[in-house]
Symmetry: D3
Subunit: 133 residues, 6 copies
């Protein structure tokens, strides 16, 4: 699918506008980023994704910055440019410094290296790692 036309406030259906309104209210901003304007092509996905993101990224046992760092790390690891850019910006807003970003990318790089070393050598899981829960 080529770049999708973005649907903004004026062109949006009532269903889409309701989600846009909730995004703006929750984030205390009047700006909607392109991701949501693209998802507006399929309103059920727009609504469901927003509801899930709002719930998953709310503060819990992990604070919001830690959650954004994890989100960003996965996005970097997957090579998703949009997600890296948008969650990089979100993490920065929540306090991620350039030094923290540098360390995050370094950890993501190392994890991808050692993941392949472990898979390449088919290392068996140590028994004492088997009872996490």
């Amino acid at each position: 699918m080529p770049t999708v036309p973005l649907i903004d406030q004026n062109a949006a259906s009532a269903e889409v506008r309701a989600v846009f309104d909730d995004i703006r209210a929750t984030r205390d901003t009047d700006w909607i980023n392109n991701f949501w304007k693209a998802l507006a092509h399929h309103p059920p996905t727009l609504r469901r994704t927003w509801d899930s993101i709002k719930e998953v990224m709310a503060p819990g046992a992990l604070d919001p910055l830690t959650k954004e760092l994890i989100y960003l790390a996965v996005s970097v690891s997957n090579g998703c440019q949009y997600c890296t850019a948008s969650h990089g910006a979100a993490a920065k807003r929540l306090g991620m410094s350039p030094q923290m970003l540098g360390e995050l990318i370094a950890v993501v790089g190392m994890a991808n290296e050692t993941n392949r070393l472990a898979d390449g050598y088919r290392v068996p899981v140590d028994e004492r790692f088997e009872n996490l829960f």
Copy 2:
């Protein structure tokens, strides 16, 4: 490569033993997990990987637990069983609760979902996300 025979202390060369000793000293334990015993088949990789891990995972702008959570998140996302088990255990040792683990896996899942939504719709990066540094 089938499961690699694991090289332990007694069978190890002096070069390997030196790395094993540093692992034990750094971690204040007398235990070496299977990953390092497998890497001992290629001593330069063993030494280089340990040196890198020790440097990357040392406290910095990100604290050790946050680094382990990021490492674990990437390992879960890559489906690397050994790495998920070993870094899950490491994160637990550093204070990760079951609730934190549950939230981490939830964020990793959401990130993988939205990474595909962003790629599927080929969402263009918003201009205001372009100046992170």
Copy 3:
């Protein structure tokens, strides 16, 4: 994370049991598969994931079998054994024959081959592919 202990009906909290009940009612079965028993360790993820699956996999412009075939194809492509097994079984229940499964795996294989050919040659997107929406 090592294999998680599975939480079944009797050990489940009221919140978890409510989701289990809805799974059984929706699927007209008295059986809960391991995925949900594992997710029960983090009830918000259990509930949110079930709600999303129920909505996404309901009949729509794509019929349920086509949706299961797509789900299975992605799971095969990602090498997720549990998901390949569970969605393979679901697709079979909805009518997938061995011949259809053979063709599905063949398409998944070809897609992974040509994805790398396209990336390896860095093929530019044809202009006439740019206006899908």
Copy 4:
């Protein structure tokens, strides 16, 4: 590899032209898309890939649209832009509506989310999922 120069009809060897002719005849078009013009740099790969695609995508137990939807789903999941664009166009030609595309991307997203949940919790495969064939 940077963007490869595209080889068109006039510059092509007899071997390449023969494949191009078969593509045009099979698809009843006079147009060759960039993928094949890039593969023309390695004629054996061009010929073998075209022969395979023609066979795999021919109608069988799965109809051509279902095959294209599966192909597209894997391409979205892999983040392959060219393949997403070209197979998105192919699926549209065969009848994929915007609504169907929206649902397809939603399923791809969910599959990627739950694949990580299953891997993160290391869910054991249920016995009754073990006898598909």
Copy 5:
């Protein structure tokens, strides 16, 4: 899909036996490994895959060992256990030493690390890398 029942010589159709015979003749062995016995469930995939492998892995500008090393490297990188085991064995037969294997896994690890560094920093391609062909 759970582990597929393996189809061996005696249970095989004439079409499958013809492929099995060609595998044995080409490889000068009387042994068929499990991959082909699994693919025998879908004879067109069995035949097409064998024909492609035979052509792609034949000596060319790259010698057979180099091709096996590349095949193995991709399989390690993808975390495909069966492929890592079978192509590891094939590379060993063609002369891969434990030292070469150790270096191969090290390169695969580094490539996966720097791939994420390049994606994480979104490094622009240098102009002088743009004219490979």
Copy 6:
């Protein structure tokens, strides 16, 4: 993270300049490619990555061209554009011909196809593949 500003020689700290000097000396060139100028944002990652690359890519049991072909193969397989371009150029400098590149991409494609076939059919590893070391 959007495209990172590139740090060149003049703007670089002493620590970064020392790495840049070593890159130029090792490669006998006065040119630094963008990857290193981006990594200069996080000097410890710059130094560690350069030290690792220099060690891993030095001639050993595998010659430098074979190592670059493996590096390139993984980069193509991961869809990392920068890495594909830079390691494609490096391999070309070391003697990779267009014909070799064509064969490499073909092997990468086939490996990705059969990796999914093996995972899709969940093929059990043959016993005789289990003793590589």
